[in-house]
């Protein structure tokens, strides 16, 4: 399997009044054209890991790494122009809530076309046809209507599908999905995931799926990284989840309620200061 992304010793630091605070502390992994899940609780650094890969660590935060290599390109030294060429065209990201991640005063069509216009060079009519085809591919029944609609005129599920369309329309090699279904209704979640899964599979792209939901990630990904307090505490194949060694991973799995043979009281997550060290 060819390697698409290599990350070694990734660190993200934010200056605070109490001195610098490191939220990602030496994360490393490699990714081919496969689906990698990153699981962890709020504040474990999983989202910042995803953003750092795209060079989008929000200022005044700073990201450093020993190796951050995307298909032979050293991202640490990438210029603004290189980033612009990479982002959108070769790597993109689906964010959590379409209510905030779509520009409220621009039509969906315009936002979609923007991804195309700046990704590849083609005529307006071609771009429009591709955008509409992409909206159809995310199972939007009336693409023309959605194309003309403003984000607030769409439901959450529709908005997220439009977002996925926007991020996949350029056929990137790497997609980072940062909690793509957390803001959606449970019934819609499965549908959106299925669409995402199919598109990623068909196009053979690399996927980093970030979530706090261990069960969801393991059913959806090939490999899982478990993060805790800015570190990867365990890495395993999704199929081997039962063989997890780390007490935090075991805790994440045990604290889920079961339909048969209920566990009472439900065990709470244990936290050991030693894991964070």
């Amino acid at each position: 399997m060819t390697t698409l992304l290599t990350v070694e010793d990734l660190r993200v630091t934010f200056p605070t009044r109490q001195g610098p605070s490191e939220v990602v502390r030496g994360v490393g992994f490699t990714l081919g054209r496969e689906r990698l899940g990153i699981v962890g609780e709020s504040g474990s650094g999983k989202s910042q890991t995803g953003r750092a890969i795209l060079g989008l660590t929000p200022p005044p935060g700073k990201a450093t790494a020993k190796v951050l290599d995307f298909d032979g390109i050293d991202l640490r030294a990438a210029s603004a122009a290189t980033w612009r060429r990479l982002r959108g065209a070769r790597m993109s990201m689906v964010m959590q809530d379409p209510k905030f991640s779509l520009n409220p005063v621009m039509t969906i069509g315009k936002q979609l076309m923007e991804a195309l216009k700046f990704g590849a060079g083609e005529t307006r009519a071609q771009a429009r046809a591709r955008a509409l085809a992409m909206l159809e591919a995310v199972q939007i029944r009336d693409p023309e209507r959605v194309f003309r609609a403003y984000p607030h005129e769409l439901s959450g599920g529709m908005g997220q599908r439009a977002m996925i369309a926007m991020m996949l329309v350029t056929e990137p090699d790497l997609l980072i999905a940062d909690e793509p279904t957390s803001a959606l209704d449970v019934t819609v979640q499965v549908e959106v995931l299925r669409i995402l899964d199919r598109l990623v599979r068909e196009r053979g792209m690399g996927l980093i799926f970030i979530s706090h939901d261990l069960r969801l990630v393991s059913s959806f990904c090939d490999r899982v990284l478990v993060m805790y307090a800015g570190r990867v505490v365990e890495e395993l194949k999704a199929a081997d989840l039962g063989k997890a060694q780390h007490p935090y991973t075991r805790g994440l799995m045990n604290c889920l309620p079961k339909i048969e043979g209920g566990v009472r009281p439900l065990p709470t997550l244990e936290r050991d200061a030693a894991w964070a060290r």
Binding site: R87, A89, P104
Partner: protein, 353 residues
């Protein structure tokens, strides 16, 4: 229509539009009625005897009593208000005790001067203030931000009459780059036939380019000063709106898509920041249209601010009330305009009735 839609009882699109227009008209009418009541009451409450203003303080008691009745002051207050209302609606705001002319005529003479000055000033303030605010937000905490901050601070805190005098001293007396006080040199005053009362517009329409240059040379200094003050406010507000927008998730989305930074700033973020900015600019404009007394005094500008102040000092209540009503109308009008612009700029407002 055969195909029926469930619309929650809102009726057809045309009906909704009519209903919206009716509601808007009712709001405007109510606001004006309130404004009239307030100005009328102010006129009755102030310790100025309108009779004395007409007859002077040496007239005998019999004359005083006659004028008292003529002015309708012996009638109950609501009746006086009713008469006032009728007069206002027929365009009669009474006569100025000072100039002995109808108020409408006086205002038609002074308001264009203020309108012209305010318009040039707000153009300067907006054209400079918005890019500066955007720039400060993008360079938050860096040199550019500090420069804009200091410029704004000076704009807020320096007294305008002082800046005005300084400006006259430097640019008029010393450098002779601009013309001095007043709207136009006497030499050009009769070259233009007053049509709109806006001298820049009148002279341009009549092809009097020498006069146009002279008027421009007169207006540019006071307009730049007033524009500087609005620029200070507009740039501060633009900066804070832009900082807010640049922190939104859709900006990250645009970056992820590989949209160039200039487009993110000037198209994505500014387009969203423009919505609250409309109100800021409209209110700044309204403030300028009230007429700045100090600027008008320093630059001998025959505008609304000077007129109202003068009337007030001479207890010319009809003129004060007329001017107050005009300013109130300006505020209502500009608020209405900014509401309309809101609907144009923000698709989320468009759908709500």
């Amino acid at each position: 229509m055969s195909d029926s839609t469930i619309d929650g009882g809102r009726g057809s699109a045309l009906l909704r539009l009519l209903w919206k227009a009716a509601k808007l008209l009712a709001t405007v009418a109510l606001t004006f009625l309130g404004l009239l009541i307030v100005t009328f009451l102010i006129g009755r409450v102030v310790p100025v005897d309108p009779v004395l203003a007409v007859i002077g303080d040496r007239a005998p008691k019999s004359v005083y009593d006659r004028v008292f009745v003529e002015l309708g002051l012996d009638r109950p207050l609501y009746e006086q208000f009713w008469i006032y209302l009728q007069k206002v609606f027929s365009g009669d705001f009474g006569e100025s005790f000072l100039t002995k002319r109808p108020i409408t005529e006086d205002i038609a003479r002074v308001f264009p001067a203020t309108l012209e000055l305010a318009t040039v000033a707000i153009l300067i303030g907006t054209v400079l203030g918005i890019p500066m605010g955007v720039w400060a937000a993008v360079r938050q905490g860096r040199l550019a931000d500090q420069v804009v901050r200091v410029l704004g601070l000076v704009g807020y805190s320096a007294p305008i009459f002082w800046l005005g005098l300084l400006g006259l001293l430097v640019f008029y007396a010393r450098l002779n780059w601009v013309a001095g006080p007043g709207r136009i040199d006497i030499a050009y005053e009769y070259a233009i036939t007053p049509k709109t009362g806006l001298l820049l517009l009148d002279s341009a329409m009549q092809g009097q380019w020498d006069a146009f240059r002279n008027v421009f040379s007169h207006i540019i200094l006071p307009a730049a000063l007033l524009g500087y003050f609005s620029m200070a406010y507009i740039s501060r507000m633009t900066r804070s709106f832009m900082l807010n927008e640049l922190a939104q998730e859709y900006v990250t989305t645009a970056r992820v898509k590989g949209v160039p930074e200039w487009r993110i700033i000037w198209v994505h973020a500014l387009r969203n920041a423009a919505v609250p900015l409309v109100t800021v600019v409209a209110l700044s404009y309204a403030n300028l249209l009230e007429g700045s007394v100090l600027t008008e005094t320093v630059f001998a500008w025959p505008g609304l601010g000077q007129y109202i102040t003068n009337s007030l000092q001479n207890a010319d209540m009809n003129a004060v009330l007329g001017g107050t009503l005009l300013i109130g109308a300006i505020f209502v009008g500009l608020n209405l305009l900014s509401d309309l612009l809101y609907t144009l700029l923000d698709p989320r407002v468009r759908r709500q009735a």
